[in-house]
């Protein structure tokens, strides 16, 4: 039963990952990533880490992916040119990844970690549940926990500063900022605005 679940979830995770890489439309990439995250949550459950699985679904597949969907809807998808800018870029990239995978697998399977070939030790029923993780976070890892909260605050402030509309932006671009105009038209208008009048 566990093996069947593992292979289903592994196939889902791999299919989602390939979908992210291969989809031409970024919106489909985001949807594939959501499927990938759900499959990973199943794998986390199989590894008896219930809290990480729940956080994966609620925080990642829920909140973070909504952010992606909003930005894809705002920016618009597609428009990626099909040709390789470096000759053979696709082939070289895949070759490098295959070599990396072979190397990583060799390193994993030939390592001296004897426990890799086991299911892991028997653990108590509370292994990885919210109570145990919360106790660890608030007792042993209190300082890293607070540091991550400061990091999140900094990231939020940074995103607001980055994405805020500049006040000195010319009026031309402010009126052209409506939705539904292709980026190429934008760049054409921008170059018109930049070149000095004779």
């Amino acid at each position: 039963m566990e093996a069947v679940l593992f292979f289903i979830a592994a196939l889902g995770a791999l299919g989602g990952a390939i979908g992210v890489v291969a989809a031409r439309n970024p919106f489909y990439s985001v949807l594939a990533l959501i499927a990938h995250l759900f499959s990973l949550a199943v794998l986390f459950l199989l590894l008896t880490s219930a809290f990480v699985a729940a956080a994966q679904v609620v925080v990642y597949a829920g909140a973070v992916m909504v952010l992606y969907v909003f930005v894809v809807a705002y920016v618009g998808g597609g428009g990626e040119s099909a040709w390789d800018s470096i000759p053979g870029q696709r082939f070289l990239g895949m070759l490098l990844a295959v070599v990396l995978f072979v190397e990583l697998s060799a390193a994993i399977l030939s390592s001296a970690l004897k426990a890799l070939d086991t299911h892991g030790p028997e653990v108590s029923a509370g292994f990885g549940n919210p109570a145990a993780i919360g106790r660890l976070l608030l007792e042993k890892f209190l300082l890293p926990f607070e540091a991550t909260s400061i990091l999140l605050l900094l990231a939020a402030v940074g995103a607001v500063v980055l994405a805020a509309r500049r006040r000195e932006e010319p009026v031309l671009s402010a009126t052209a900022g409506g939705a539904g105009v292709a980026p190429s038209e934008h760049s054409a208008k921008r170059s018109e605005g930049v070149t000095p009048a004779p």
Partner: protein, 99 residues
């Protein structure tokens, strides 16, 4: 299932994300592929935490999730800023800093 299966799967997912970063040119898809690589790392962390029977690796995975969220927020802010300035959303055209 043996722990080795999980770790090899995580290596496979990591390589898939690496392919995406190498061959795609839209910054948004590159961010998504970064997520794939971070999640592969998470899977390895949780698998090793199960292997030694210690929950501290799961706390590590949660911290990686926070890092991923920060990366997403800043990266998407950058993409929105690039879009607002009418620059092309293509990492081959955004090469002023290349030197």
């Amino acid at each position: 299932m043996n722990i080795a299966w999980y770790v090899v799967l995580s290596a496979l997912l990591f390589c898939t994300g690496a392919v995406g970063i190498l061959i795609r040119r839209s910054p948004m898809v590159i961010l998504l592929c970064l997520e794939l690589m971070l999640n592969a790392g998470n899977l390895a962390l949780v698998a090793f935490s199960r292997m030694v029977g210690n929950q501290q690796g799961q706390v590590f995975a949660l911290v990686v999730m926070v890092i991923a969220a920060c990366e997403v927020v800043v990266g998407l802010g950058l993409i929105v800023a690039i879009f607002r300035r009418r620059l092309p959303l293509d990492v081959d055209d955004l090469r002023e800093l290349r030197g």
